[in-house]
Symmetry: C2
Subunit: 232 residues, 2 copies
DNA sequence: GACTGCTGTTACCGCAGGTAACAAGCACGT
DNA sequence: ACGTGCTTGTTACCTGCGGTAACAGCAGTC
């Protein structure tokens, strides 16, 4: 066994390499055909047959998990960078982070679709694909938890602050996701606009400026004006 | 054959009635077996066979769409009620709405799972089910648009306000959804707590109280203290 | 040469969604 | 009475998917 560098290591290395190749092939297929790509298609793209895929990744979930991890890690890294980047104030940092996320999903919507809605049962029905929906994906969880720790670090929330931070983390991530998802489809405005609107919301936008129809006019003390005019 | 209950009566019923019965049967199955219920199972529960289901609903998506519409409409109605209910201030109304949503998904998680993540491929793997995710479902879109109109009505946002309202609508709904999804699984706190934390967030919570680690200490002017201690 | 561990294959299973094709009951217009 | 047509139901099948034997080569090691 232990003789020299050995065949075992070589084998493992080639196995890793092979795995990487397979992942890249899978990536290509998923990006081309969408998340509903079949194992057969992926195997064909890789120039092999199904059982090999299963030997490497166990089952379809395993493959998709591995595939998702790469993209998730990449996205998370850039988000962390934006979150840690120097900025004049927190608002700028928040805007930068939101913008990073939105830029990512804008640049590679296919990847985004795969990470978020991998179960879309194909686009044979380009109509009002009801899809019966699907749900939020572990990526969102990871993002939520990640953001929660950052919030807990950065804001001093006192006792019970961890709980608050987690709620806020998941809430903010959900806001970002839903708004991004909707924006990506309807494209109602420029990215920068969306970022500003979302930051306004996070900055308590829906707190001020009540209309007369509400019971008490304004409970906002010295409300810092909401910015909503179009910006250059 | 196998008249079972009452074939004669069934025969007399109109297509609409039959459809309703089928939907109710499907509902039962989905609530029992989860969203991955097969057409065969649903047909069996209804005491008939597959082709009939297909005649009534076209395909599985049609059935699920019809099924989802009922629950969606119901949920939406109660949300609208909460949103329109009399309250002392807007914060109370927001809290009531959030609480209504969370109470609904808490009371009937199966329905919620069906509406939001109907594609969950079963729970044969209670482990770290990566699931590869799924996505947000039209219900969220509908909620987002709905809330957007309410926001546009209730807050006077000036020119371009409709755009802001839509962004906020979808953002808030996403926040609610993601936080609820996470909360429903981890149950880290009582529902009321979650509601308060989320409202704090919406009220601009993440704006104040920066820690020293950040670059500039505090840009919050006369920060109204964030409420986060446990409340009765 | 026998053994091991990897690569790869073909051929199959079970089950899902979905679709003929055909059989029965009832309502008619003649 | 009769056929015609509609609806409701059936059985039996197709396709394609995820997943799994079982077997065939081809290293290097003892």
């Amino acid at each position: 066994m232990r003789t020299g560098t050995s065949q075992r290591d070589d084998q493992r290395q080639t196995a890793q390499q092979r795995r990487k190749e397979l992942l890249e092939a899978a990536d290509r297929v998923v990006l081309r055909d969408g998340p509903e790509a079949s194992m057969n298609a992926i195997a064909a793209e890789a120039g092999i047959t199904k059982p090999i895929l299963y030997r490497h990744f166990g089952d379809k979930g395993g493959l998709y998990r591995a595939l998702a991890k790469r993209h998730t890690d990449a996205l998370l890294a850039s988000l962390r960078a934006a979150l840690d980047a120097p900025a004049d104030d927190r608002r700028q940092r928040v805007e930068a982070t939101l913008d990073t996320y939105l830029a990512a999903i804008e640049a590679r919507p296919q990847v985004y679709r795969f990470l978020m809605h991998p179960a879309d049962h194909g686009q044979p029905e380009p109509e009002q694909g009801f899809d019966v929906g699907h749900h939020s994906a572990p990526l969102l969880r990871r993002l939520g938890e990640e953001l929660a720790t950052v919030i807990a670090e950065r804001l001093e929330l006192g006792p019970g602050g961890d709980e608050v931070a987690r709620v806020w983390g998941h809430g903010i991530v959900g806001m970002m996701h839903a708004a991004g998802d909707w924006w990506l489809r309807d494209r109602p405005c420029a990215r920068g606009q969306l970022v500003h609107h979302l930051t306004d919301l996070l900055w308590g936008g829906c707190r001020w400026r009540t209309t007369g129809s509400a019971h008490r006019a304004s409970e906002a003390p010295a409300a810092p004006r909401v910015r909503l005019a179009a910006r250059p």
